[in-house]
Point group: C2
Amino acid sequence: MENFTYCTPTKLIFGKGAIEQLPAALKPLGRKILLTYGGGSIRKIGLYDEVKRLLADFEVYELSGIEPNPKYTSSVLAGVKLCKEHGIDAVLAVGGGSVLDCSKAICAGALYDGEPWDLITYKVKAQKALPLVDVLTLAATGSEYDSACVISRTETNDKVGYLDEHLYPVASILDPRYTYSVSKKQTAAGAADAINHIMEQYFCEKHSALTDGMCEAAIKSLIKNAGIALREPENYDARGEFMVDCSLACNGILSIGNSPSGWPCHGMEHALSAYYDITHGEGLAVLTPRWMKHILSDRTMERFVSFGTHIFGIDSALPEQEIADRTIAATYALFESFGIPMHLRDVGIDETRLGEMAHHIAVNEGLDGAWAPLSEADILAILKASL
Amino acid sequence: MENFTYCTPTKLIFGKGAIEQLPAALKPLGRKILLTYGGGSIRKIGLYDEVKRLLADFEVYELSGIEPNPKYTSSVLAGVKLCKEHGIDAVLAVGGGSVLDCSKAICAGALYDGEPWDLITYKVKAQKALPLVDVLTLAATGSEYDSACVISRTETNDKVGYLDEHLYPVASILDPRYTYSVSKKQTAAGAADAINHIMEQYFCEKHSALTDGMCEAAIKSLIKNAGIALREPENYDARGEFMVDCSLACNGILSIGNSPSGWPCHGMEHALSAYYDITHGEGLAVLTPRWMKHILSDRTMERFVSFGTHIFGIDSALPEQEIADRTIAATYALFESFGIPMHLRDVGIDETRLGEMAHHIAVNEGLDGAWAPLSEADILAILKASL
């Protein structure tokens, strides 16, 4: 195992009626709350009214309309402004990964005197952040149980991942019923996102029986429960286990002590979303099997064999190359079976800007240092193969 | 999944040289430190001197001689007295599970005005506790990553488990090299303890693909790495993975959302240790296969089949009863292969007090409410079968 420091101080409050613990979770943090959310979905499912009822004893300000691939100027800066104007004590995010990510950036920016973008791009290290509590309505990114956020800046085609230990939510409220209304498209994209999160940790140099087994358990659970949730959107147990899978998938516990991998698919997908504003999980699903095919080599073979035999039950007696080929095909078929469009063209991306994106990725994402290093030419080849 | 609240705020600092982070971990907690440890082992491996060097800028008081199955009067009360006398700010435990457990009870007792036993027996709820940092020298109990401690009171043959959210260590320093000198006997007992921790969570009513898979991963990793560590005590990777396995084994993450099991083997073993002061992990190894045999029924069969096929690779095409029988035999053989004495008589326990212990367990441990309920007669039968 590699040296590591691991700490996730977030309290996960899971289950039917978990929302009732919201006032107790917020009370120690202060009285002035900024409630953040996205479009209208939390109103449709009655959650907005429920939250407002529970916040009766608090002074509540609101930031609504947070977009998918949340935007720096229209959402992060707007939220920071509200926090500073009203002396907000804590942020309550109600939504999915985009709302949570945006709210994390707001929490950091609210207690910083300069330009928040300097924090997000690590020009300045955050010394503190407002405390964040969230109520999750879409299982996918794992933002409810990690210290990361991803923020887009449309003007510069940047989509930047930002991690800081101050950004762990204080508490995350997970009631699977709030995800019943999540569409097939978003459920599938969430599953692809979480599966890729784990693959990004699994495909690395140093790993252990413990981390391999935990990663495989979580991926198999995601496959099983995504399948059920797509057929039966109101299956409580499937939505619940899927939710917890997603929370653990991005949190580091499943790969504790593994060597870093460089998260190459995320590095590439961030450009797709930044340039074309596509759904993150769909971009990942398209890229993943093409990335696998591109990095397959004698050096990386062991991971493909392990993944394929354990996840898809491919016969370990077959030749390694055969196992690897079947593993890549099975990964493609899995995402396709979720109903995800499996070509960039299907999500509105053509060849026009592939070169520009490959350059942007090569310059900004450091993938030449990934476990399987990717040069600009490698990235372009993967993007072209994904068309 | 069942409703749950999960939060482990402890920072795990793992790896070669992790000890260098000790001053930084203690500094925010205060200047007056109570250093707690057991017999002389930390002096033998040079760790005592290393810790004292790193604590040069702190005011250090010491409590040494903490026993295995740590005792309330001689250790907990002695530590509480030192804390109150000197206005201790934080406790630094250097040792294995017994030292850590004792130190947790000291941390709670130090900030309580009454009799600490009232906290330990839940007569009074702790409102706060001194912060605890630890340096682990024996991988087994998982005390470095949970909120539990087990304290013995010799006068009354009590050995009581006490959990409180104030008892999570602030930071746990895990350098696998500190466990190189752990004897074969203690390494084996540690493995049995951790494996049983996971079995106590696995054998329950409600579980998931996620928790089953994570539990199986950790048990398989423990089996693999205990085997290596027993043969090669200075194998860094094996000692390291074993250490992390043990930390996760008792922490709840592996069984997140499972229904409670009642921890029956621990309930029974606590009496064995309280009456005879035996090694906890050895007592568990003796009891586990006898408990399995006793509770096997149509209702519990599914867990045996799952455990046996996934952990021991028993052919799933066999009849269920055959799989279950082989699973119990394989569990016995596993602990025996570690070199653990597999009969109570081997650890100095004869039939004299079995009835008295069974009664004590039935009265104090609530095992009639366990997943597979145990009456006093059941407990006595298991103890007799373990002779």
